[in-house]
């Protein structure tokens, strides 16, 4: 395992406790990713994929083990440092898009800039540029419910990229999309990975998509890595 990896986890374990019952969601997962890699994670439901994603995103903390991003120990950061990490280092997209329903596409894309302290005029300008890139500029004033699934996911991608993160975490981004749209979305991620050197970590049930686009794929089962594949 490369010691100066871009993203590195060591014995990552996450146990959820509910009263006396303990559920091990992730058990001793050690991973190593290089910058600019398209990394795929697959596995059945409940295998720990989303838990791994939340830990890498800094939304959750491991019960034991460590996460390092660019040599920085993410698992040891306090709440405010984690917020800054999420704001500047990572962008996230989700299966259910997670757009704010009362906001327009433009406002959703500009949302992360609000917390980064960017002025409104500048926020809107950057968000328009980002929507232009994902081909949604004409729909900038539409609310999420007025957009198709693919358009919503493209809006979410624009939002994830607005703060120019180094890692894009995609949690089942095609789960709610038809096969053609799914392919289009993953193609966008792949382009970002190839053309801009963005590190992409994508969870998917669809192994065919991972086989087509990912450099490496791991299989999780009951919170453990059961298979590692180097595709290219």
């Amino acid at each position: 395992m490369n010691s100066d990896s871009f993203v590195k986890t060591e014995d990552l374990t996450r146990i959820y406790s509910s009263g006396t019952i303990e559920v091990v969601a992730l058990r001793n997962v050690s991973l190593s990713l290089d910058q600019g890699q398209f990394f795929g994670v697959t596995g059945a439901s409940g295998s720990g994929k989303s838990t791994l994603m939340n830990l890498l995103a800094g939304l959750d903390r491991p019960s034991s083990g460590s996460i390092k991003v660019e040599g920085r120990l993410i698992s040891e950061l306090d709440k405010d440092e984690l917020a800054l990490y999420r704001r500047h280092q990572v962008g996230m997209i989700f299966q259910s898009f997670n757009l704010v329903s009362s906001y327009s596409a433009l406002e959703n894309v500009a949302f992360p800039l609000l917390f980064a302290g960017v002025a409104k005029k500048e926020r809107n300008k950057l968000a328009e540029q980002m929507l232009e890139k994902v081909g949604l500029y004409p729909r900038k004033d539409h609310r999420p419910f007025e957009l198709s699934g693919g358009e919503q996911q493209r809006t979410a991608i624009a939002r994830a990229l607005i703060n120019q993160p180094k890692i894009l975490l995609a949690d089942e981004p095609t789960g709610n999309l038809d096969s053609i749209t799914s392919r289009q979305i993953v193609q966008i991620l792949s382009d970002l990975n190839k053309k801009q050197g963005l590190t992409v970590i994508m969870i998917s049930h669809e192994e065919s998509l991972l086989d087509e686009f990912a450099d490496d794929v791991i299989h999780l089962q009951d919170g453990k890595v059961v298979q590692e594949e180097r595709i290219r």
Binding site: N54, A57, L59, D60, K79, D80, A83, L84, R86, R87, H88, M92, F94, N98, L99, V100, S102, F111, P112, L114, F115, A116, G117, A119, K120, R159, N163
Partner: protein, 451 residues
């Protein structure tokens, strides 16, 4: 996040739930409106009293009474108007005393309190009143608030000043119009002349008193405004005439039954002398001097602190009443904010996922609470002002009808206006603390999975 963004976000989020926001703001508005009108009422009453006292320079007066050592009815300084224990006079308040005191440093003028009972007749209406004898110079010194006409001058003969409240009681609708008209004062006098034989006979048979009426005609030169409160004021009657006219009138100078118990020698003295000082700084000096000479004194300024304490208690009571409404409004804010957080549970998760810190989330919701407080405060102030104005007009309509002067019963000071808005915001922020903490504690992992 920038302050301008917090403000914009809060107003825009509140606008998305218009009805709920408006209802919550109404709650705050009513609370602040109640508090503001209560406070302005307390302040209005306080202002009216202190302003009138200052305007009429009542704080510059010291009243002097003979010490309570005889059987004469003497008002005590603590309870003016209430007779004290009996005993002989040690000093007499007479004209010589007045001449003497006028020469004391700081004394502008001194005049005795002379009042006698009389029937006042005007346009076929007759009312009983106490006529106060007031020297022309005192009358001209601004001690009386005149609504119409002028104070009488030493050269005026048979001039009279009457209060608008007495005129109203005598069914005069527009008191100003009576200036220059004639009015009759009838006094009672002991009459043992032949023309009063029937009364004398009745008296001797123990069935009546040997009194007869004497009538004197006066010209109304001024209409005075009756003060909205009573007390040991230097001027406290409905009818005023000069000493020269009073001296020529036959009358029983009794203001109470206690006067009948005076011996003829003691009757020489006045029951009270009012001393007007050029400044309040001479009060203590004059009081000490009078007390050394064996008199009792009363100065309104000594009671200023008591009055202030009284006002403070009144304000505290009014504040407590207003606070009930504010507490209800605060509960409304808590409810609204908790509802808002439950509804925006997922949004909070998204905020955190895109980089909002717990502090950012807290501030977003605190600004929303503050915005409710600000809007509620401004509208509450407007409501309080409106309600106060309406009450003021209604109360004055009835009070003026009964002869009381027009008064502003409510006073809106700058500190009340700004204080109400600041207080409203602070209360709203306090009400927002719990919901805000709740919002900050939202686990983004759970919230993002929430539908």
């Amino acid at each position: 996040m920038r302050i301008s963004d917090y403000i914009e976000q809060s107003f825009s989020n509140l606008w998305k739930k218009k009805l709920r926001t408006l209802l919550t703001i109404f709650g705050v508005m009513i609370g602040i409106g109640a508090l503001v009108s209560m406070f302005s009422f307390g302040q209005g009453i306080q202002d009216n009293i202190t302003n009138t006292f200052n305007e009429l320079q009542l704080f510059n007066y010291v009243s002097v009474y003979p010490r309570s050592e005889n059987n004469h009815a003497i008002p005590s300084s603590e309870h003016p108007g209430v007779p004290e224990q009996a005993g002989p006079y040690s000093q007499i308040l007479d004209d010589e005393f007045i001449r003497d005191i006028t020469e004391t440093e700081g004394v502008e003028s001194a005049f005795p309190e002379v009042r006698f009972p009389a029937m006042i007749r005007f346009n076929d209406e007759e009312k009983f009143s106490l006529v106060q004898v007031l020297p022309a110079d005192v009358c001209q010194s601004g001690l009386m608030k005149l609504r119409a006409g002028r104070p009488y001058a030493p050269a005026d003969s048979n001039a009279l000043i009457i209060s608008d409240s007495l005129l109203r009681r005598m069914k005069v609708k527009e008191p100003q119009t009576v200036i220059g008209q004639k009015i009759v004062i009838s006094t009672l006098t002991v009459d043992l002349s032949l023309s009063n034989i029937p009364n004398i006979v009745s008296f001797l048979m123990g069935k009546g008193l040997p009194f007869s009426r004497q009538s004197y005609q006066f010209t109304i030169v001024g209409i005075t405004e009756k003060m909205g409160f009573v007390g040991p004021m230097p001027v406290r009657s409905d009818v005023f005439i000069k000493p020269a006219e009073s001296d020529d009138m036959k009358k029983l100078s009794l203001t109470s039954i206690w006067d009948l118990f005076q011996s003829s020698q003691q009757a020489k003295g006045y029951s009270m002398v009012n001393i007007k000082l050029s400044s309040t700084k001479y009060i203590e000096h004059v009081k000490d001097k009078m007390e050394d000479r064996g008199f009792r004194t009363f100065a309104l300024i000594d009671h200023l602190e008591e009055m202030k304490t009284g006002f403070m208690f009144m304000n505290m009571f009014l504040f407590a009443v207003g606070m009930i409404a504010i507490t209800v409004a605060a509960l409304g804010i808590i409810n609204t904010m908790v509802m808002s957080i439950l509804e925006r549970y997922k949004e909070i998760g998204i905020m955190k996922a895109v980089g909002a810190s717990d502090g950012d989330v807290k501030k977003i919701f605190l600004f929303e609470s503050g915005a409710i407080g600000f809007l509620g405060g401004v509208l509450g102030l407007a409501l309080g002002w409106l309600v106060s104005m309406i009450i003021n007009q209604v109360v004055n309509y009835f009070m003026v009808k009964q002869g009381a002067p027009y008064m502003d019963y409510f006073s809106f000071r700058w500190w009340l206006v700004s204080g109400a808005i600041v207080f409203s915001i602070l209360i709203s922020l306090a009400a927002g603390i719990y919901p805000t903490m709740r919002a900050a504690r939202v686990d983004p992992v759970v919230a993002l999975r929430h539908d």
